[in-house]
C-alpha cells in the first residue's frame, strides 16, 4: 500500500515537472501588519485580501506567517528580526504605516530579504533610498494626493486649505498635493498623529477664507474630522485621498461623507474580469465590501505568486527580476513597475454615494493616467 502511494506521488511529481516551466519551490512569507488597536481595520483588510488570493491560488507550498505589530515601530522591528532569523521567511510584506515601514524595510532588504509593500510607500524608499529587493505594489505615498491636486485644478479651486498629520506619510501627502495643485493655499496645517479633536483646525478653516479643503487623515482621525466638520456649519467642498473615505471608514462617518470627492488607484467598480471576481469573492467570503487596502493585499499576493511561478525564491536576484515583470492580473487593470519598483498606474477620482443603505465610492473619471512618482528619477535602479 505504502509503495503504491509512493509510486503515485512520484508519478504526479514527474508529470508536474515535465508539464511546464513551474518551479513549484514554494515559499515562506512573513506578514507584519496592524491587527489590534486603532488602525486595525486597515491591516485586517490587507490580510484578508492577501489570504484570499493565496487561497484561490490553491497552493499549499506557500506558507504565510502573520503577526500583529499593533502600530508600534519597535514591535514591528522585533517581529521582523524574529521572522528573518528564527522563522527564516523568504519574503516580508504587510506593513500599513510609513513610520513602521521605515523602521523595518531598510534593514530587512539589507539582509537580502524581499519586501513587497501592500500599503506604505514612503518617499525615502522611492528615490535615492530605493532598493532592488523592495517592491511597492500599492503606490508611492504622494501619488493619490498628487491626483487630488490635479483634480483641484480641474474643479477650479484656487484657495485650498490643506491638512495632514505630522509624520512621514503626512508630509508626503501635502507635498504631493502641492506638486500638482496650481492655486493658492489658504492654509497648511500639520496635526498630531492620532489626534481626535479637530475643533481648532476647523475654526482656522472657517477663518481662512478658503474655497475648498483637502485633508489626509487615515483611519479614526478621518472619521472624527468629517463628523466634526459636518457639525461645524463650514460647508466648503471637501476632498482627500481614498484613505479618508475607504470602505472601512464610510460606515462610521455616515451621511456626512456623501458627495465627497476622493482619489484612488482602485475602486470596486473598475470593470475588468479580475476585479469583478475579486469583489464578488471577497464579499462572499468575508460578508463585507472590500476596501482599497483589501485590493492591495490581494494584488500583493498575486504579484508574489506570479514571481514564484517563474523563479526560485532562494535565488534573490532572479526572483526580484520576476517580481519586476509584474506579470499578474491586477484588480486595477493595467499595472507595471517603474525603475524604482513603484507602480506606474492610472489614478481615479471617486465620489461617495449611497447604494441602498450602504455608503460606497463610485468612479467619476481619471485624474492621472500612467502616473509615476516624482522620486523615480533619483533612483539608480534601471
Amino acid at each position: 500500500m505504502k509503495t503504491l502511494k509512493t509510486i503515485m506521488a512520484s508519478a504526479v511529481a514527474m508529470s508536474l515537472a515535465l508539464g511546464g516551466s513551474a518551479m513549484a519551490e514554494g515559499a515562506k512569507i512573513g506578514m507584519i501588519t496592524t491587527l489590534s488597536g486603532g488602525g486595525a481595520g486597515l491591516g485586517v483588510d490587507v490580510r484578508d485580501g492577501f489570504m484570499l488570493a493565496i487561497e484561490q491560488a490553491g497552493r499549499d507550498d506557500v506558507e504565510v506567517v502573520i503577526e500583529d505589530d499593533a502600530r508600534k515601530p519597535d514591535l514591528a522591528v522585533q517581529i521582523a528580526d524574529k521572522m528573518i532569523q528564527s522563522e527564516k521567511v523568504d519574503i516580508l510584506t504587510g506593513i500599513i504605516w510609513s513610520n513602521l515601514a521605515m523602521a523595518v524595510i531598510p534593514s530587512a532588504v539589507a539582509q537580502g530579504k524581499i519586501y513587497v509593500s501592500p500599503n506604505a510607500g514612503p518617499s525615502a524608499l522611492a528615490g535615492k533610498g530605493c532598493n532592488a529587493n523592495y517592491f511597492n505594489v500599492a503606490w508611492q505615498n504622494d501619488n493619490l494626493h498628487e491626483a487630488m491636486g490635479a483634480y483641484a485644478n480641474v474643479a477650479e479651486y484656487t484657495n485650498t486649505f490643506i491638512l495632514a498629520p505630522n509624520y512621514p506619510a503626512g508630509q508626503d501627502a501635502l507635498n504631493g498635493f502641492k506638486r500638482e495643485y496650481r492655486g493658492q493655499l489658504a492654509g497648511e496645517v500639520f496635526t498630531k498623529l492620532g489626534a481626535t479633536d479637530y475643533a481648532a483646525e476647523i475654526a482656522q478653516i472657517r477663518d481662512s477664507g478658503a474655497d475648498s479643503v483637502f485633508f489626509f487623515l487615515p483611519g479614526g482621525m478621518g472619521i472624527a474630522f468629517m463628523k466634526q466638520y459636518a457639525a461645524s456649519g463650514v460647508d466648503l467642498p471637501v476632498m482627500g485621498p481614498a484613505f479618508s473615505f475607504d470602505q472601512g471608514i464610510l460606515g462610521a462617518v455616515g451621511d456626512a461623507a456623501l458627495g465627497v470627492r476622493n482619489s484612488s488607484q482602485w475602486s470596486k467598480d473598475i470593470d475588468n474580469e479580475t476585479n469583478n471576481a475579486f469583489v464578488a469573492s471577497f464579499q462572499e467570503k468575508y460578508e463585507r465590501l472590500p476596501s482599497l487596502y483589501a485590493s492591495q493585499g490581494f494584488d500583493a499576493a498575486n504579484l508574489i505568486l506570479s514571481a514564484l511561478d517563474k523563479a526560485d525564491v532562494k535565488d534573490t536576484e532572479a526572483f526580484s527580476a520576476a517580481l519586476k515583470e509584474a506579470d499578474f492580473k491586477s484588480t486595477r487593470g493595467d499595472f507595471k513597475f517603474g525603475n524604482n519598483n513603484h507602480p506606474i498606474q492610472d489614478i481615479y477620482v471617486r465620489e461617495v454615494v449611497k447604494e441602498g443603505d450602504v455608503l460606497t465610492n463610485k468612479i467619476l473619471g481619471l485624474a492621472l493616467t500612467d502616473h509615476q512618482d516624482a522620486y523615480a528619477e533619483d533612483c539608480p535602479l534601471q
Binding site: 488597536g37 485586517v44 472619521i223 457639525a231 456649519g233
Partner: protein, 306 residues
C-alpha cells in the same frame, strides 16, 4: 487672528477641558480615596462609547445609548473593582500599574472580539447636529455647546455630592484617614466600590459624548487617559476642584498652542518648517505647562494637604 476666531478657539479649549474633566474627576477620586493608580480608566471610556454606539444602533436613540454608556461603564467598574482592584489596595504602585495595564489589554482585545476591528458608527442626535448662531453672526457646533453645558452641570453635581451629602462626607473622610473611618463603622469596601463605580460611570459618559463626534474604536481611551493624568498632576492629586481647574487649563493651552504656535514660528521661518516645528512644539505645550506648574507648586494647584 481675528477676535471671533480667538473666541471660538477659547470655546473649543473650554469644551475640550470639560471633557477631560469628566475623565480626570474619576481618576483623581480613585487615586485620592483609595491611593490607586488606575491605568484602565481609559478602557472604561472606551466601554462607554461602545455601549452607546451599540445601543444607539439597536434602538435608534442616542439618549438611550447615553444611559447605556453610564450603566455599562458603571457596571464594568463595579466588576473590575470587586474582581481585580480590591486585591491591589495593599500592594505598591508598581503592582497596581502592572495589573491595570493588563486590564487595558484584556478589555481592548475583548472589545475587538465582540465588536470587530472596524470603527462603529455613532452620530449626534439630530437637533444638536448642526451649528447654532451665537452673537455677532458667529456659528458654533451645537453639540459642543451642549458638552460644555453638560460638563458644567456634572462639575456642579460632583461638588454638591462631595460637600453636601453623607456619601460625600465619607469620601472626604476616606481621603483624610481611611483607618479611622473604618474604625468608626463605615463599610470601607462598599465605599471603595461606590467611588470606583462613580469614576467609571463618568468616564463611560465622557466616552459616549466624545464618541459621537470622534470615532468609536478600540484604543480610543488611552490618549485621553494620558491627558487626564497630566490634568490631575497639575490640579493636585485627589482634588476635584484641582481637576476642574487643571482640565480647563490644559484644554485651553493645548487648543491655543495648536493654533498660535505655527503662526508664531512663521514670523521668522518659512511656512513648511514653521508648520512642522509649530506642530511638534504644540503637542509638547501641555507638558511644558505641567513642568512649569510643578516647579512652583510641586503638589499641584490645589493641594489637599494645605
Amino acid at each position: 487672528m481675528s477676535t471671533t476666531l480667538l473666541f471660538e478657539q477659547l470655546l473649543n479649549g473650554l469644551q475640550y477641558g470639560v471633557t477631560l474633566f469628566l475623565m480626570a474627576a474619576g481618576l483623581t477620586l480613585v487615586f485620592g480615596v483609595m491611593g490607586l493608580i488606575n491605568l484602565a480608566h481609559g478602557s472604561l471610556y472606551m466601554i462607554g462609547a461602545f455601549a452607546c454606539a451599540a445601543v444607539a444602533a439597536a434602538t435608534g436613540s442616542f439618549w438611550l445609548g447615553l444611559v447605556a454608556s453610564i450603566v455599562a461603564a458603571g457596571f464594568a467598574g463595579v466588576l473590575i473593582e470587586m474582581l481585580v482592584i480590591r486585591r491591589l489596595y495593599d500592594r505598591d504602585h508598581l503592582d497596581q500599574v502592572l495589573a491595570t495595564f493588563a486590564l487595558i489589554l484584556i478589555l481592548s482585545e475583548g472589545c475587538r472580539m465582540v465588536f470587530g476591528s472596524f470603527p462603529l458608527y455613532l452620530d449626534t442626535p439630530d437637533f444638536l447636529s448642526g451649528p447654532v448662531t451665537l452673537f455677532g453672526g458667529f456659528q458654533y457646533s451645537a453639540y459642543r455647546l451642549a458638552i460644555i453645558l453638560v460638563g458644567g452641570l456634572v462639575a456642579l453635581g460632583l461638588y454638591l455630592l462631595i460637600t453636601k451629602t453623607r456619601l460625600g462626607i465619607r469620601i472626604r473622610a476616606g481621603e483624610a484617614d481611611r483607618e479611622m473611618i473604618a474604625a468608626l463603622g463605615v463599610n470601607i469596601a462598599t465605599l471603595y466600590t461606590i467611588v470606583f463605580a462613580i469614576g467609571a460611570a463618568l468616564a463611560g459618559f465622557a466616552g459616549a459624548m466624545m464618541g459621537a463626534i470622534q470615532s468609536v474604536q478600540v484604543g480610543m481611551g488611552e490618549p485621553v487617559l494620558i491627558l487626564a493624568f497630566v490634568v490631575i498632576v497639575i490640579g493636585g492629586i485627589g482634588s476635584i476642584k484641582g481637576a476642574l481647574i487643571g482640565s480647563i487649563l490644559v484644554g485651553v493651552v493645548d487648543t491655543l498652542g495648536r493654533v498660535t504656535l505655527p503662526g508664531f514660528f512663521n514670523l521668522f521661518m518659512d511656512t513648511a518648517a514653521a508648520n512642522s516645528v509649530g506642530a511638534a512644539l504644540s503637542s509638547m505645550s501641555i507638558y511644558v505647562l505641567m513642568a512649569i506648574i510643578l516647579i512652583f507648586k510641586p503638589e499641584g494647584l490645589v493641594s489637599n494637604n494645605a
